[in-house]
């Protein structure tokens, strides 16, 4: 074999493997590294002595972490339910063979093309009582109109929900619409012949056949919610006080503002664990469904 032939054989391997190895190592080694740091007393610089679970117990005991999770719970629940409701409403309306369907779709989906930073900044202005919606309504003559939740500790988190729903509902709409359009026509015809009205048809026939899509949207939105970071930073910076702080913000705070890499990493690992609680059952469900489909086919 000449060196030329050898090179021809070797070259594909030289091209294939580096990016594959890099992307695998990225997922595995970087995660393992952060997990490792979470078990060490690292502060400003990594310090690889073993500390056991002390960072975890310490993080769980901090007020910031507890409040952040309480906030995430409220935000996640409201954000997911409202986004799905809004997405479903939009999808059903658009599915009625409306005029200019493409334009409506484009309008409801454009927020997804904009960064969380832009969304947060703009909604921060709109919700700001002295220059936003409250001011607008008061200028119209309703002088004791109140919409100042963003500076209210108990309600600020719902302002983040508004911005989040505005941004993500188009995404839910797009997926639901695809689901509505893939319902088998025979199924619908049969139900229509039985004389089912529009609402009954949706509830009894269309929505049940879309169950996998509901689950997919639910999982994706939960994932968005857990990862929420820039939106809150831009909208409220976690305030007032700690009213809208999120686990992601606490991670950053400990890692880079307090210089507690060990504790910050422990927080990041717990964040990953929360994601796993959502994603692992979903992955198992997908595998189960794929298997069942191949058995049936």
């Amino acid at each position: 074999m000449t060196w030329r032939q050898r090179l021809d054989r070797a070259l594909p391997h030289l091209v294939i493997w580096p990016p594959i190895v890099v992307s695998c190592a990225y997922a595995l080694v970087f995660s393992a590294w952060t997990v490792w740091v979470s078990f060490t007393p690292s502060t400003l610089l990594p310090d690889y002595r073993w500390l056991g679970f002390r960072n975890y117990t310490a993080m769980l005991a901090t007020r910031n972490w507890q409040i952040a999770y309480a906030n995430l719970f409220i935000y996640g629940t409201c954000f997911v339910l409202l986004t799905m409701a809004m997405g479903l409403l939009l999808a059903v309306l658009i599915d009625q063979r409306v005029r200019a369907e493409n334009i409506f779709r484009a309008i409801f989906l454009y927020p997804m093309a904009v960064s969380f930073v832009v969304t947060g900044t703009v909604w921060g202005w709109l919700l700001n009582p002295s220059i936003g919606i409250q001011k607008l309504v008061r200028d119209f003559g309703w002088t004791d109109f109140h919409f100042d939740s963003v500076i209210d500790r108990d309600k600020a988190i719902y302002c983040v929900v508004i911005a989040g729903v505005w941004q993500a509902s188009g995404f839910a709409m797009a997926l639901f619409l695809a689901g509505l359009r893939s319902v088998e026509p025979d199924l619908l015809k049969a139900a229509q012949i039985d004389g089912a009205g529009a609402w009954r048809l949706y509830r009894r026939v269309v929505f049940p056949s879309m169950a996998p899509i509901f689950i997919a949207v639910l999982v994706m939105l939960l994932q968005f919610a857990i990862k929420t970071y820039d939106l809150v930073v831009a909208l409220t910076a976690g305030g007032p006080g700690l009213a809208t702080t999120m686990p992601t913000i606490v991670v950053y705070d400990f890692m880079f503002q307090r210089g507690e890499l060990g504790r910050g990493s422990a927080a990041a690992v717990m964040l990953l664990a929360s994601l796993a609680v959502v994603l692992v059952p979903y992955a198992l469900y997908r595998r189960w469904r794929d298997r069942r489909e191949t058995v049936h086919a």
Partner: protein, 282 residues
């Protein structure tokens, strides 16, 4: 198709909702040509009394952010310098990855693919500490090159996922025939796979461009001062001006920062949607 609900009512509701969804964009667009006094006197939502085009020139080249009075121009250019190479390189490498995973099967390829897709779901927070150390070692901390590297590696999981799933649909007979004709790895890629790829490459490029342009956490963690991308600069802008707001200029800045991805969406909406659905559901 379920029978229609009342038609005019549907259109009315949709129209109302569409207007509501457009309010934030319209408000920013209008405010970008209003003076700050005008905005403060009325509200963020209103028509301009007079068109103040200077907001744009101010915010672009002379607005002060912290101690730098260079406008958002350097940050905007940083974002371009970061986004364009990272998008192109991660897409090309992803296409190669997808090609070898989908069509040159090897033992354990399913596992490798599984691990790579794991990267799609891992939160950025899990990678911050390793990146700090790696970038320091490479001497790329606080450089655009460092951010480009991060986005290439981070993007590989997405681009590989997109391309691999697309390439699995290419019939293997086509490849077998080509191999019998003596075509090797690169020739098959170049002659058969790449010509079939434009749809998925457009989806991938749009997805990567939008994602990288809009990213904030890496930008703020691994770059400081004048090296930061536009998203980080926007946050600094609104945090800084709270004592003396300049809503007119700030709105112009927000509009400029959102413009590239909005334009991509406007012209490539169909592909954007496809990326969104494959990226999300798979």
């Amino acid at each position: 198709m379920p029978r229609r609900l009342a038609r005019p009512a549907i259109h009315a509701v949709l129209l109302l909702l569409a207007v509501a969804y457009l309010v934030p964009l319209a408000a920013v667009a209008l405010n970008s040509v209003r003076s700050t006094e005008d905005i403060l006197q009325t509200s963020m939502i209103g028509l301009p009394r007079a068109l103040v085009w200077t907001n744009f020139s101010q915010t672009w080249s002379s607005y002060c952010l912290a101690e730098h009075c260079s406008g958002i121009r350097p940050y905007f250019l940083n974002s371009l310098e970061m986004t364009i190479p990272a998008t192109i390189i991660s897409t090309l490498l992803g296409a190669l990855n997808g090609y070898s995973l989908a069509l040159w099967r090897f033992r354990g390829d399913v596992w490798v693919f599984g691990i790579i897709t794991l990267g799609v779901f891992l939160p950025e927070q899990m990678k911050l500490v390793p990146w700090v150390i790696v970038l320091r070692e490479l001497g790329l901390f606080n450089t655009i090159a460092g951010l480009v590297l991060i986005h290439i590696v981070q993007g590989l999981s997405f681009t590989t996922l997109f391309c691999r799933n697309y390439y699995t649909a290419i019939p293997t007979d086509l490849l077998k025939a080509a191999r019998i004709d003596g075509a090797g790895f690169f020739r098959i890629f170049w002659r058969i796979v790449l010509p079939l790829s434009p749809p998925i490459l457009i989806v991938t490029v749009i997805w990567q461009f939008t994602g990288i342009w809009n990213e904030y956490l890496y930008g703020v963690t691994f770059a400081a001062g004048e090296q930061q991308p536009i998203t980080a600069a926007l946050i600094a802008l609104s945090a800084h001006v709270s004592e003396a707001p300049h809503y007119g200029e700030q709105s112009a800045a927000v509009l400029l920062a959102a413009a590239p991805t909005l334009l991509v969406y406007l012209f490539g909406g169909r592909y954007f949607l496809r990326g969104l659905t494959t990226g999300a559901v798979k």
